[in-house]
C-alpha cells in the first residue's frame, strides 16, 4: 500500500494540481478542462493567465486524443490509456505536461519540428502560424497542424520535450509547456 503515499508525496513535491491517466476522449478532455477551470477560478488566478493555461491544455489534450486513437489502431496493446496528462503549479508558472507513445519512425520528424519552433521568436512564430493556417487542410484526424505553434505562442517560452524509449517500436513523447504567472 505504500505506493499510495509515495505517489501522493511525489505529486506534492512536484506541485502537481491535476494528474490524469486513463482514456483520452473529447468527453474526458471536457471534464479535465472543467476541473482545471474550477481549480484556477477558486485560486483567483488572473484571467489572462487562466486563458493561456486553458489554451495550452486544449491543444495538448486534443493532441493526445487524436494520436492515441492512431496508436490504438496500430498496436492493440498500446491503448490511449498509456498516455498521461499533468498540470503543475509553481510560484512563477504553470506547467502543462503530457506523455504519450509515439512510433519511433516519426520521432525524428517530430523532434525536428519542435527544435525548429524553439528557434523562433514571437514574430517568427506568428509568421509560421499565418503561413500554416493559409495553406493547411484539416487532416483526417481533425488537426490543423497548428497545435505546437499555438502552444509555443501562448507559452512565450521554449517547449521542453524528450523521447525516452518504451520498446523496439515506440518512444514515450514527453512534452512540457510552461505558462509564466507574472504577466
Amino acid at each position: 500500500m505504500n505506493y499510495i503515499y509515495d505517489l501522493h508525496n511525489a505529486m506534492m513535491a512536484q506541485n502537481l494540481i491535476i494528474v490524469y491517466q486513463g482514456e483520452f476522449t473529447q468527453e474526458t478532455t471536457k471534464s479535465i478542462l472543467a476541473m482545471a477551470e474550477r481549480n484556477l477560478d477558486s485560486s483567483g488566478e488572473e484571467s489572462g493567465i487562466k486563458r493561456k493555461v486553458f489554451n495550452v491544455m486544449v491543444e495538448s489534450l486534443q493532441n493526445i486524443v487524436k494520436h492515441s486513437s492512431e496508436a490504438n489502431a496500430a498496436a492493440g496493446n498500446l491503448t490511449s490509456q498509456s498516455a498521461i496528462f499533468m498540470i503543475g503549479k509553481q510560484a512563477d508558472r504553470y506547467s502543462i505536461m503530457t506523455g504519450n507513445p509515439i512510433k519511433k519512425s516519426v520521432t525524428a520528424d517530430l523532434k525536428r519540428k519542435l527544435d525548429e519552433l524553439n528557434q523562433l521568436d514571437k514574430e517568427g512564430l506568428k509568421e509560421m502560424y499565418k503561413e500554416i493556417i493559409k495553406n493547411t487542410q484539416i487532416s483526417e484526424k481533425g488537426g490543423a497542424g497548428l497545435g505546437f505553434v499555438d502552444m509555443a505562442r501562448k507559452s512565450g517560452e521554449k517547449l521542453e520535450f524528450d523521447f525516452p524509449e518504451m520498446n523496439a517500436e515506440y518512444n514515450f513523447f514527453c512534452l512540457k509547456v510552461n505558462v509564466p504567472r507574472e504577466a
Binding site: Q26, K30, A34, S47, G48, R51, K52, F54, N55, V58, E59, Q62, V65, K126, Y129, K130, I133, K134, T136, I138, G142, G143, A144, L146, G147, V149, D150, K154
Partner: protein, 120 residues
Amino acid sequence: MEILNLEGSEDTPKIMLDKKNGIFEISGRSLPEDSAEFYRPVIDWITSYGKDPNPSTEFTLKLEYFNTASSKLILDVLSALEDIKGMKIVWYFHEDDEDMEEAGQEFSELVEIPFEFKTY
C-alpha cells in the same frame, strides 16, 4: 432563407444566422472534436446566402476561446464571406484579452474584408 440557429455548448459556439432579421453571429467557445464537420453547415449557409445577400451584412464574431482546428475553419468562414458585397466583420474581444484581439488582427490580414474591433 432558413434560419441557422445552433445552441452553444461547452465545446461548440452559439450560431445564429438569420437573413430576414439581419443577425449573423458566432459566439462562445469553439473546441469541437471535429471542427470541419461542425462548421460545414455554417459554410454551406453562407454559400447560399452569398447568392442573394442583403445590401449590407454585419457578421459578428464574439468568441471567448477557439482551438487551432477551429481557427482554420474560422478562416474558411471568413473566406466564404469575402466575396459577398457589403460585408463587414465585427470582431469582439474581452477588454483584457490581448490574444483574442491579436487573433482578430491576424484574420483581418488574411482576408480582404473590413474589420471593426469592439470590446465587451
